[in-house]
Each structure stands twice: as structure tokens, then as C-alpha cells.
């Protein structure tokens, strides 16, 4: 019955636009109370475009097919004991971090899009957000399923959701999404759909997942790429959102630019976690963090912002301050030296890995970072593996320990502060300080884990009790160096290594 088949454009119109209705007994403003307070002006919602013209019926059909493929691979993975095929047990720690830091963000994205979608007066935007919200729920579910297999064989997977809400370093990703979700619906879309999904998530999913493949982890590659197949749609939504807002009213331009500046910076700081995973946690390395940044931000983002220039949008404000040369090294050093307080194992990179790092970071690795590992090696050889003793100062905005150095001096930590209503606040960077200045009443509420411990809100009295009782870590199994860990001992037994 080919003659009766609707073409895509007509079908999209019938199954989205024509599903909307006029409000006869309620004021539109009351039905969509969140639409105006941010200052964004929408004159005509019908200008909203979904270039994929995806309708719910097609959505379910293709999503079902993706799921079938995905679960067939999970089954095969489990049946073949494929956990034994990963490069080495260090790799698994990247996956522990993924499950505790990233997967809960998928859930947060689900909640965020469900809420945001409800708030828009335009039906096209509502449908797009609804689909994305269901996608994000799928992502968290498939990730839990994939990684539950590792939970049978390795430590550290047991309480990821509980940990996400409590553990010191996980407050970094958690607070990122809390910040976005507690903003208005338009800022949320600029934050998540555009700045995070369009501009930055490729860096998370594409080279990292390709890295998982290279390390023999087919389960992770498959959930990663299956999620990415939705991501292509999310990215497109992100770009359309921006174009739509900018075309609706010229007054939207400075607001959108401000949000891009903020969320680009927050995202770049957050992704230092991914940089560390790529440079230090993958035993077989696909590309360095710096190279990935070059391909997925500088090239792709460069093209994007050139395209947006016609609307009066420029590159994000702090782009010059992103320290792709340094961030992964500084962050892994932080995790290594806090390895008694991490829910995954840490280690000194091998000599071959250090050579790879010098090759990828010829200007900086040997000069600034190799000496730290030499010190760590020396201390370890003396039977005195270095674990730092006191708790670090945290940035009020991004909540990362204040570990980043000055843009023009990699030997000096960067300190920024401000006084607001008589209280002093500290920041890792100009970007984080300026974000605070825009909305101090929001960030005075930062739940900074170190301060919360000192206030007695995380159990205690000692750090040991905080880690085991409040965070739920199995001390001696989940934390500490990979050397001598139960993970390593089991692995060696399975592999028949003495």
C-alpha cells in the first residue's frame, strides 16, 4: 500500500504538532509557569524543528531493535566469561568509576528531561524532551545491566548509587547535574543538550568507548555505542535548541552566550575525569586526552562556533584556560595520593606507559609529572606507599579539589577567592569564580564533602568510619593500590599466574 504511506514530514506533523491543543478554561501562562522567569523570549513555538522528524511509533521500533542487539551481546559476553578477556584488572577500575560517576548522570538526565519537557509550551520541544528522557532511562538501565556482570567478579561495584550521593569525588559529577536541574528549563537545555551533549559528550563516549574495545571490554563498547546512537539525536536536539532560541528573539543572544560560557567551563572541568581515565586507566591506549580534545573539541567545536557566529555567538569564554596538557596528570596524581579514600584502585603508571605519556605530552610530562611518579616509586620501594594524610581544599563551584595549576605556571596551584556577605569562598579558576559571582545565592549552598565531614554530617569521627560506614566502601578491598588487592589476587589465580 505504498501510495497510502505518509511521507516523513506529514507524519511528523500529524504525530507531534497536531497532538497539541488550545487551552479553553485555563490560562496558558499557568499551564507553563516556568517558561518566562529566565528571561528567554519565545514568539513562535511552531518554528521548532526536529530535523530527524522522529515520531513515537518509529522511536519505539528502532529503540526496541537497539535493545535486542545490545542484550544479545551482553548474554554472549557473560556466557563466554568475557571478563577474563580484558587487558588487565587495572582496566576494570575505569569501569567502576564510570558506574559511580557517569551512569547516575544518565538517571539525572532522565529526570531533567522529564521535568523540562513538561515545562515547554511548544509541542515539538515537549516530544523531543520526552524521547530523550526515555533514552536516558534506557542508558542508565543498560549500563547497570552491563556492569552487573563485573560485580560478580570484582570489588567496588556494590553500592554505586549510594556512593554517587555521598563520596567526595563523586560530588563533582553529581553537583554538575544538580546545578543544571535546579536551573530553569531553557538553561537546562543549553547546559545539557547543547554545551554538554553537543559540545562535550563525544569526548566521553567516542574515544573512551573505542578505548574499551581496545581493552577487550565488548560489553562496555556495546552499551556505550548503543547509548551514542541516541546521543546523535540528543546532539542534534542541542544544536536545534540553540538555533531556535537565537532565532526567536535577539534578547536571547546574551543569555544564551552566558550559559554557554558557564556550562562549557563546568563541562570541561568535569571531563578532566575522562581525561584521567584515557591517559592513565586504560592499559591499551587509543589516543591521549589532548589528542581527543583536539579532534572532538577544537576541530568539531571550531566548526560549530564558526557556524553559530552568524547569530552573534562566539567561542565559550574560558576556552583558552582549559588545560588539556595538564589536567589528566594532575587528577590522576590526586586520585593516586588519595587512593585510601577511593572506591577503585590506583597505581603508578608502568615505565612503558610513562614513555607513552612523554611521547604524547613532550613539552610537559617529563618536566612536571614524571618526577612525581619517581617520588611515588621511591616511596613505594621503601615500603611506604604514599597516601596523603589530610583532606584537600575544594572549589566551591566545581567541587574538584583545588588541584589545577595556573595557566601560565604549571608549578603553582591556582587559587581564586571572593567574599560574599562576609563569607569567604574559594575557587580553582577564573571560570569557577565568575560562575559563583553570577549566582552567589545558588552556590553558597554547595555541599562540599570535606566541609560536610568536618561538620560531622558524614558519620565518623575518623576518616575510616566515613569511608566504610557513610560511603559504604569495603576498606581493604575497594580502595588502596591495585598491588596486593583482592582484585589482583583473584585475577592472577584465574590466569594461573603465581
Amino acid at each position: 500500500m505504498a501510495a497510502n504511506k505518509l511521507n516523513l514530514k506529514d507524519k511528523y506533523r500529524l504525530l507531534t504538532r497536531d497532538l497539541d491543543w488550545e487551552f479553553s478554561y485555563q490560562e496558558r501562562k499557568k499551564a507553563f509557569p516556568f517558561e518566562e522567569f529566565e528571561g528567554i523570549k519565545i514568539t513562535d513555538w511552531s518554528k521548532w524543528e526536529d530535523p530527524f522528524r522522529l515520531t513515537m511509533d518509529a522511536y519505539w521500533k528502532y529503540q526496541a531493535e537497539k535493545e535486542k542487539k545490545l542484550y544479545a551481546i551482553f548474554d554472549a559476553f557473560a556466557q563466554n566469561n568475557s571478563q577474563l578477556n580484558v587487558t588487565d584488572p587495572r582496566y576494570i577500575n575505569a569501569i567502576k568509576l564510570f558506574l559511580t560517576a557517569v551512569s547516575p548522570l544518565e538517571y539525572q538526565a532522565f529526570q531533567g528531561f522529564a521535568h523540562t519537557g513538561r515545562q515547554f509550551g511548544g509541542v515539538g520541544a515537549r516530544v523531543a524532551c520526552q524521547m530523550q528522557s526515555i533514552d536516558e532511562l534506557r542508558h542508565v538501565q543498560t549500563q547497570i545491566h552491563a556492569m552487573s556482570h563485573y560485580n560478580k567478579f570484582f570489588d567496588g561495584f556494590q553500592d554505586w548509587s549510594h556512593m554517587h550521593d555521598r563520596v567526595w569525588y563523586l560530588s563533582v559529577p553529581k553537583s554538575f547535574f544538580d546545578d543544571a536541574r535546579s536551573a530553569g528549563p531553557f538553561e537546562y537545555l543549553v547546559a545539557i543538550s547543547f554545551s554538554f551533549e553537543y559540545v562535550l559528550t563525544n569526548l566521553l563516549f567516542v574515544p573512551f568507548m573505542s578505548g574499551a574495545a581496545y581493552n577487550g571490554d565488548m560489553a562496555t563498547v556495546t552499551f556505550g555505542f548503543s547509548a551514542q546512537s541516541d546521543e546523535a539525536r540528543h546532539m542534534t536536539l542541542g544544536l536545534e535548541v540553540i538555533k531556535f532560541l537565537l532565532e526567536q528573539h535577539e534578547d536571547n543572544v546574551p543569555l544564551v552566550q552566558k550559559w554557554i560560557d558557564k556550562w562549557f567551563w563546568r563541562g570541561a572541568q568535569l571531563l578532566s575525569i575522562v581525561g584521567m581515565m584515557m591517559d592513565y586507566m586504560l592499559p591499551n591506549k587509543v589516543m591521549s586526552w589532548k589528542e581527543a580534545w583536539g579532534v572532538y573539541f577544537e576541530e568539531a567545536g571550531g566548526a560549530l562556533f564558526k557556524d553559530l557566529a552568524r547569530y552573534g555567538i562566539r567561542m565559550p569564554k574560558y576556552v583558552e584556560q582549559v588545560q588539556t596538557e595538564h589536567m589528566s596528570h594532575q587528577l590522576w596524581w590526586t586520585m593516586y595520593t588519595h587512593g585510601h579514600a577511593t572506591g577503585f584502585h590506583t597505581w603508578i603508571p608502568t615505565d612503558e606507559e610513562m614513555d607513552w605519556l612523554s611521547e604524547k605530552y613532550p613539552e610537559t610530562f617529563d618536566k612536571y609529572y614524571r618526577p612525581r611518579w619517581e617520588l611515588a616509586k621511591q616511596m613505594e620501594a621503601e615500603g611506604n606507599r604514599f597516601y596523603t594524610k589530610a583532606l584537600p581544599q575544594l572549589c566551591t563551584t566545581c567541587q574538584i579539589p583545588m588541584l589545577f595549576t595556573e595557566v601560565d605556571d604549571p608549578t603553582q596551584l591556582s587559587f581564586r577567592d571572593t567574599v560574599y556577605h562576609g563569607e569567604r569562598y574559594h575557587f580553582c579558576s577564573d571560570g569557577c569564580r565568575d560562575i559563583f559571582h553570577e549566582e552567589p545565592e545558588k552556590y553558597v549552598q554547595s555541599w562540599l564533602p570535606v566541609h560536610q565531614i568536618f561538620q560531622g554530617n558524614c558519620g565518623g569521627p575518623g576518616v575510616e568510619q566515613v569511608l566504610s560506614e557513610y560511603y559504604g566502601m569495603n576498606l581493604g578491598a575497594d580502595n588502596l593500590d591495585i598491588k596486593g588487592s583482592p582484585d589482583e589476587q583473584r585475577w592472577n589465580r584465574w590466569k594461573g599466574v603465581a
Partner: protein, 120 residues
């Protein structure tokens, strides 16, 4: 506008007021150009702690793992309090010499170049 909120005149709850620290105040201490320690440390201390106690007891816990710790000449060490040059008085309480809640103290030992001379 101190926040973009749907609630008029929205005011946030300040989480880290000194009153929440059970009689302590927070003091951050960082050793410039010594990146063996990834960040400055945060210490919860009674405001009456003397500078001598801070230096000889509290800081030891955080910094003494450093191979150069024992070589520090405290007489020539330079200090910054919240970014400004500062001369500590050893037997005076922190609070009585302007080191208040959430103050940042940095110390500099220019003759010590860090492990392998690499600011580690």
C-alpha cells in the same frame, strides 16, 4: 541578580557558616611550588589555636611526608594570608592575627625546589 530563580527574592542557605563547625573554624594551608600535595589542605581548628601549634603540630600531619619538610628554614619562610604578605606571630591565636574562618595560608620556601628540582 544574585540568582536566577522562579521564587522572588530567593535566598540560599549558607552551608559553611562557622557556626556549623562545632566551635572550630576552617583554615586552609598550602605549600607553594610543592605539588607532591595535590591541593592545599583544609584543617578544622579552634580559633584559639596558636600559630606555633598550627605549624608544629597540625601542619606536620599534612606535610611531613615531603622529603624537604625537615629542611625548611622557618625563619626565612614567606607567608601569604588570603593572597597578602603576612608575618605570623607564633604565640598568638589564629583569630587574633586575622586568620579567620576559611582563610587560606600559603607558605613559600624559594630555596627548596621540590623533589628532583621539579616543584614536586
Amino acid at each position: 541578580m544574585p540568582v536566577r530563580a522562579i521564587t522572588p527574592d530567593y535566598v540560599g542557605e549558607v552551608k559553611d557558616l562557622q557556626a556549623n563547625f562545632h566551635g572550630n573554624q576552617l583554615v586552609y594551608v598550602g605549600w607553594d611550588h610543592h605539588l607532591m600535595f595535590c591541593a592545599a589542605f583544609a584543617f578544622p581548628l579552634p580559633p584559639t589555636t596558636t600559630f606555633r601549634q598550627l605549624r608544629d603540630e597540625v601542619m606536620v600531619e599534612g606535610f611531613s611526608a615531603h622529603p624537604e619538610w625537615k629542611e625548611i628554614d622557618w625563619d626565612s619562610t614567606q607567608w601569604l594570608l588570603n593572597g597578602e604578605p603576612f608575618i605570623p606571630q607564633l604565640d598568638v591565636a589564629l583569630i587574633d592575627q586575622g586568620i579567620d574562618h576559611k582563610s587560606l595560608l600559603r607558605f613559600q620556601t624559594p630555596e627548596l625546589k621540590g623533589f628532583m628540582g621539579a616543584a614536586v
